[in-house]
């Protein structure tokens, strides 16, 4: 299935190296520490360096244009840029080099910012000489560089979406609308996730179940969408364009489940499903924080409820007096940041030993929406709101303004001194003791009939999926994107994308936007017949391979290395071979090969030798 393109490059490695070295000041990020001019002076003296320039922003258009122009006018055939992390700009400069007419892999990126100027702020001389050594190593490596071609592989132009909440449904609806077939896998027996359970959603007061139903309708009848409920991903292998997936099903609880109106019937007949997909979207959502027993009285005092339960019940109550569990309620409290914005040493740690130090984003608005609804429906109920900061950002501020006007009483506590909930006296169910910083930090006692805990969001527990897809997880237990601005919905695994609250707390609108962004990133690679992969994979020199199979034992990636029987001089011999699509280029095989028969393209042993020589031999720059 691999289809290697022949090099079509006019400027080849056979010519004597003419290397251009470009040093970036990064607007001072680098040049405030590294003496870039002195550095350039030294670099010019290195062997085969034909041009060396310093620019304020190498990545800017004028900076890029300089490289292109030099390649063409000065016949450069290899390029080094010494700037920021390759993570940010290696690809940028490979493209520039290609625009200049060179093979994009005759390029080396040197990180003199994160690895040098930022690390050695207080040692400019040392940093300058380190930069020189690093550049010298790159120049040495380039001496042994060969033009490489990206690996082209077939592409299964369909997507797997994991999770049938609004994020998953939205990605499926958009992709199918754009003509991309989608397989949607939901672990529970119904679609719609949490939103389907919400009575009212902010900011437009739409009914959650109505929103969910509309999205469900868009996908259930779509010919390009296939939905499997009570299903889970059992196996995944492969890489972008070529993920092979096995879907398995939970045993059916009882026969009536198939009559579930929300599409469970789709999985009624399947035992296992196999599919090949090009991209995978993880939309597994988040869960409301579940307070520990006794946390603010939860689970011990019946008058302490979580926000999720409160809003479900409030919607069903008749107007008139506010009756909760058979009792007339006059004083209601809302407590913000339950399970969020926790402080080390104040809040007990979670099961994994860590606290939830993040803000859950949706809850301030959700709380004030409920407080306001309560005030509007039951004007004589007194509402007390215990908060740290009211985070009704953007237009949600309206809920804050209106709640204040409606007479909600706000009390501000500090994270270090969370309110204390105790059994009430004189007929009220509870009393909350809190130091209120809006009234000069005095401790006040507020008698309540009902306390609503404004619970945050926590990452949904998906250890198997994290393991199967090798998903990166952040310190907050949410799934981690590559870079919040450069690649906000992509994971470190090429072709695996994040949508919605699996990544971070978000409200409905934000979740839908994130889902759209994930859908587009899933659609882009599927708009072509083939996917292109980086060429940095292992390659076996069959002549040197003695068939010892040590590499096969060492390789951690199924299918990346395999053995093959070939005829050598009329006799059959076993040789190792690489499947470039499955090889991760980790180099484990290279290390164990006794005959130096395996090399990583772009990172050969000769190149490593040259880099080490380059690092040790450079002369330090003075001053």
């Amino acid at each position: 299935m691999s289809e290697q393109k022949k090099s079509s490059n006019p400027k080849t490695e056979s010519q004597k190296p003419r290397i251009g070295v470009y040093i970036c000041r990064c607007g001072g990020n680098i040049s405030d520490v590294v003496n870039t001019d002195a550095l350039a002076g030294k670099v010019k003296q290195l062997g085969d360096v034909a041009a060396c320039r310093v620019e304020t922003f190498m990545c800017s258009d004028p900076g890029q244009a300089t490289i292109v122009e030099d390649i063409q006018k000065q016949n450069l055939n290899r390029v080094v840029v010494a700037s920021c992390s390759p993570f940010l700009h290696e690809l940028t400069f490979r493209t520039v080099v290609q625009r200049g007419g060179l093979n994009p892999f005759l390029y080396e990126h040197v990180n003199i910012r994160e690895q040098d100027s930022w690390a050695h702020k207080h040692d400019p001389v040392g940093a300058t000489s380190k930069a020189l050594r690093m550049i010298n190593a790159a120049v040495g490596k380039l001496h042994h560089a060969e033009p490489l071609e990206r690996i082209r592989m077939g592409n299964h132009r369909q997507t797997l979406v994991v999770g049938g909440g609004i994020a998953g449904l939205k990605t499926a609806a958009e992709l199918a609308g754009k003509g991309v077939p989608v397989i949607l896998v939901e672990q529970s027996s119904s679609l719609g996730g949490r939103v389907a359970l919400l009575a009212r959603t902010f900011p437009r007061e739409d009914e959650g179940s109505v929103l969910a139903k509309k999205l469900i309708a868009q996908v259930t009848d779509h010919p390009l969408v296939r939905i499997f409920t009570r299903a889970r991903i059992e196996r995944v292998s492969g890489f972008i364009g070529n993920f092979d997936v096995k879907i398995a099903f939970e045993p059916k609880p009882d026969a009536s489940a198939s009559s579930d109106p929300q599409g469970a019937g789709h999985s009624a007949n399947a035992a296992e499903v196999y599919a090949s997909v090009g991209t995978i979207i993880v939309a597994t959502g988040a869960d409301p924080y579940k307070p520990a027993r006794g946390e603010y009285g939860f689970g011990e005092q019946p008058a302490v409820v979580s926000l999720a339960d409160f809003l479900r019940q409030l919607a069903t109550l008749p107007n008139g007096n506010f009756i909760w569990n058979g009792k007339r309620v006059r004083n209601v409290g809302f407590l913000h940041c339950v399970g969020s914005r926790q402080v080390e040493g104040v809040n007990p740690p979670q099961a994994d030993g860590k606290i939830n130090d993040y803000c859950s984003r949706y809850c301030c608005t959700a709380i004030l929406q409920q407080a306001l609804t309560l005030k509007m429906r039951f004007p004589d109920v007194n509402v007390f709101d215990f908060y740290q900061d009211i985070r009704t950002y953007g237009g949600h501020e309206d809920y804050y303004t209106k709640s204040s006007a409606a007479g909600v009483v706000f009390l501000r506590y500090h994270a270090e001194e969370p309110p204390v909930v105790e059994p009430g006296e004189n007929g009220s169910a509870l009393k909350v003791r809190v130091k209120d910083y809006l009234t000069f930090g005095e401790e006040v006692e507020v008698p309540l009939d009902l306390l609503v805990l404004g619970v945050g969001l926590v990452a949904h527990d998906i250890p198997e999926l994290i393991d199967l897809l090798k998903l990166p997880v952040g310190a907050d237990r949410f799934l981690q994107e590559v870079h919040p601005k450069l690649r906000p919905v992509e994971t470190a695994v090429n072709g695996v994308l994040l949508a919605g609250t699996a990544q971070a707390p978000m409200n409905i609108e934000e979740t839908l936007s994130a889902a759209g962004a994930a859908a587009v990133k899933a659609a882009i690679p599927l708009s072509r017949d083939a996917v292109e992969l980086d060429p940095f994979v292992a390659e076996v020199n069959a002549e040197k391979c003695n068939g010892c199979e040590r590499c096969l034992t060492e390789c951690a990636y199924t299918g990346a290395l395999f053995k093959e029987t070939v005829q050598v001089d009329g006799e059959s011999a076993v040789k190792a071979r690489v499947n470039p699509g499955l090889c991760f280029g980790c180099g484990a095989c290279v290390a164990v090969c006794p005959t130096r028969a395996i090399d990583l393209k772009g990172w050969t042993l000769d190149q490593f030798d040259a880099m080490i020589d380059g690092l040790v031999e450079a002369v330090p720059v003075e001053g």
Binding site: D357, C359, S513
Partner: protein
């Protein structure tokens, strides 16, 4: 140096799959996400360079990446993309339906420079004798009457500002490419598009909206965009100085919600990013001015995004002081000091008079586009572009017209980029549906279902 000025618009080319209005971070991201799916995209930008607000920022919260380092590659990727055409210094004045397409009326302003000849060598700039306050540097540096707008601008063409040009002709003589056209006139063009993405962005409301802050009476009562430039490594002074007298400030105050959350100034909403950019600026200032006292006066700290709360806690740990209080008045003193009268809510409601030598007003975010109706959309009460369908947050409610970024309401860069992707997805979905015909190559789902479960 002329590479990177984008695919030049061929005179005959007047139909695009999508036109993106606005070349800020949201517009560029939408354009890239569409062009990568092989749609032909035109980006129309009012300013002489693409990049929007983000290209003028210093570092960005919550990761403190340098803003240029994130923006320039996107600008450059758009400029070099074979499916993207850029038109800068051009406004979209009207969008009307044309069959099942849209007809856009554009005005290309006069640059007084022939972009097919200009190579961005800046010889004109070096000889021009007139300087005026540099808009990119928020008026703090100086720009020649003819110049390339800023160092990493895209495209790198010179622009002449007729307000300041004295007509001496020095630039005309210096230009080796014979590119300067003092008689150039604005041009009106029309293009057609299958779909439109509005990404027209925001601006900040005025520092003088609140007379009690006396911004007009002191140069040291500054806008946060000025602070971004002061903090930028390649900014106007190369370091942080106060604008009035060049003194290194030793006490800096930030007044949050200075142009938001106030019905009386017509901005009842919260501007969403000012808490965070103020915290960011405070952190960067404390790095640049290690001995300075930095105070943030706030009502609520709205650190709600991914990593924001942790960022806020780091700022507190760095020693930045957060004072919950209303700033009633700022009074410039004859010696240049600024006295802030503050009701400190958490300190018994005591009224304090605090001395600072630089005060930053966190202004509100208001829409750049005043009449979305003319561009085929409608506006909400708050002035931002309306999105009537809760399930399609990138859709304006008008056939084929989408919206991304701050044009739809205040938001940070990450959220703008997310929406931009979402708008690109909606637009490509829309275009696919529009073209859908009985296609023999129509995609179909491929999978293998094995066995029958308990039925």
């Amino acid at each position: 140096m002329s590479s990177g000025n984008g695919a030049a618009m061929r005179e005959t080319e007047n139909h695009f799959d999508v036109v993106v209005v606005g070349g800020g971070i949201a517009g560029l991201q939408s354009a890239l996400d569409l062009a990568d799916q092989d749609y032909r995209v035109l980006v129309v930008e009012k300013q002489p360079s693409i990049g929007g607000r983000m290209i003028s920022l210093s570092k960005v919260f919550p990761t403190l990446d340098c803003a240029s380092c994130i923006t320039t590659p996107k600008m450059s990727a758009a400029a070099h993309h074979s499916n993207i055409t850029l038109m800068t210094y051009t406004t979209v004045d009207a969008i009307e339906p044309a069959g099942d397409n849209h007809r856009l009326t554009l005005t290309q302003m006069a640059r007084y420079v022939d972009t097919s000849a200009c190579i961005g060598c800046r010889q004109c700039e070096y000889v021009c004798p007139v300087e005026y306050p540099d808009p990119f540097e928020q008026g703090m540096g100086a720009l020649r009457a003819i110049s390339v707008p800023f160092a990493n601008a895209i495209p790198q063409y010179a622009v002449l500002n007729p307000e300041y040009c004295i007509g001496c002709g020095a630039c005309v003589r210096a230009c080796a490419s014979d590119a300067i056209r003092l008689d150039q006139q604005p041009k009106t063009l029309t293009v057609e598009a299958g779909a439109v993405v509005l990404a027209t962005g925001f601006h900040l409301n005025s520092t003088s909206l609140k007379p009690q802050y006396n911004a007009s009476r002191s140069k040291d009562i500054v806008s946060p965009l000025q602070v971004e430039r002061l903090l930028a490594p390649h900014g106007p002074y190369g370091r942080v100085l106060r604008p009035s007298d060049g003194k290194i400030p030793d006490s800096v105050a930030f007044v949050l919600c200075a142009g938001s959350r106030d019905q009386s100034i017509g901005v009842p909403y919260c501007s969403r990013v000012c808490c965070m950019y103020s915290i960011k600026q405070a952190m960067l200032l404390s790095g640049a001015l290690p001995t300075a006292d930095i105070t943030i006066y706030y009502m609520d700290i709205r650190a709600f995004g991914k990593g924001f709360e942790q960022f806020y806690q780091n700022a507190k740990a760095m020693g930045i002081s957060f004072v919950k209080g209303k700033v009633a008045r700022i009074t410039p003193q004859p010696n240049g000091d600024l006295m802030a009268r503050v009701e400190a809510i958490e300190e018994d409601g005591r009224v304090m008079e605090n001395r600072h030598d630089l005060v930053v007003l966190a202004q509100g975010i208001v829409p750049e586009l005043v009449s979305p109706e003319r561009l085929g959309a409608a506006k909400e009460e708050d002035g931002f572009i309306r999105r009537p369908d809760p399930l399609r947050p990138a859709w304006t409610g008008r056939e084929g017209i989408f919206v991304a970024g701050t044009a739809a309401g205040p938001k940070d860069i990450v959220d703008s980029i997310m929406e931009a992707g979402s708008a690109a997805m909606e637009a490509s979905h829309y275009l696919t549906q529009k073209r859908a015909t009985a296609d023999a190559n129509a995609p179909s789902l491929e999978l293998e279902v094995i066995g029958a479960a308990s039925e």
